[in-house]
Assembly symmetry: C2
Homo-oligomer: 163 residues x 2
């Protein structure tokens, strides 16, 4: 993992620690890499709670109670599904802040025709504040797109913790 | 991630694919790195279902219904907790095979005095087959212990899929 991402993760954990807030993650395309980054930051033991990796549509419904109809209507890579993933992760875990990532990192488009590089990232707090960002990365490498998704998720998390 | 681990993950996914079985993970100390490895293997989309990252004790109870009394009795790094994590992940997800990893990768012992390098890994199937391995790694680096945990988890997964 790049040292730039490690520094971003450390800053997020420091901010959460200062505020006494616990973070939970819900990941599709990053598949646990965001959780690993956060867990590796100094101080994570007190404010990184854990997370969900929901790689398939079935798993999004089983672990995070995402209605199959919502996925059918918007596809798994959508603002609606990202927000619902974040809200469900928060509710199931009892953490204070949740971040969710769903996207297509490649090398192939997904089965619904969403292109490589499309990502939706959402964050939410217990107080009901939400943030969302849509990314259309032009990178084609899986690793480059994963790093972009991780960087954007950490930025969104930092913003919602600061807000 | 080392190419040796990537090869092991690819072999596990190939075996699961051949058998039409879906895998779910439950990770404490590896914090999502096992899920990322499995998701990166060719063919993962059909047989890697997703997983849980339960980094704290509270999170183990919230996400995987591990009774706090079980953790209090055996500590979070124990055969009993590893097995329960695997069984709960299987039940919650609807996958066919689950693997769970709990351990102390360092740099410090955990709050219950479990030493750096102690790991418990468990796997279970819907049919009730279970496997467990206890590792006492002498390595002190967090990265080396994480890689050892990942290698052992992939081996256990491969064995239970073959059995």
């Amino acid at each position: 993992m790049s040292s730039k991402l490690e520094k971003k993760a450390a800053a997020v954990i420091k901010r959460a620690e200062d505020k006494g807030l616990a973070i939970v993650t819900a990941e599709s395309c990053t598949a646990g890499a965001l959780a690993t980054l956060l867990a590796d930051a100094p101080g994570a033991g007190t404010c990184f709670y854990g997370g969900f990796v929901t790689y398939t549509k079935t798993c999004k419904s089983a672990l995070l109670a995402i209605p199959p109809a919502l996925i059918a209507q918007h596809t798994a890579v959508s603002r609606e599904v990202a927000l619902r993933m974040a809200v469900s992760a928060l509710k199931a875990s009892g953490a204070h802040v949740a971040v969710a990532v769903t996207g297509v990192i490649g090398p192939e488009p997904d089965e619904d025709g969403n292109p490589v590089g499309l990502m939706h990232i959402a964050a939410t707090t217990r107080g009901g504040h939400t943030r969302h960002v849509k990314i259309a990365s032009r990178k084609t490498s899986r690793e480059a797109n994963r790093e972009r998704a991780l960087a954007e998720a950490l930025t969104l998390l930092d913003e919602i913790l600061a807000g």
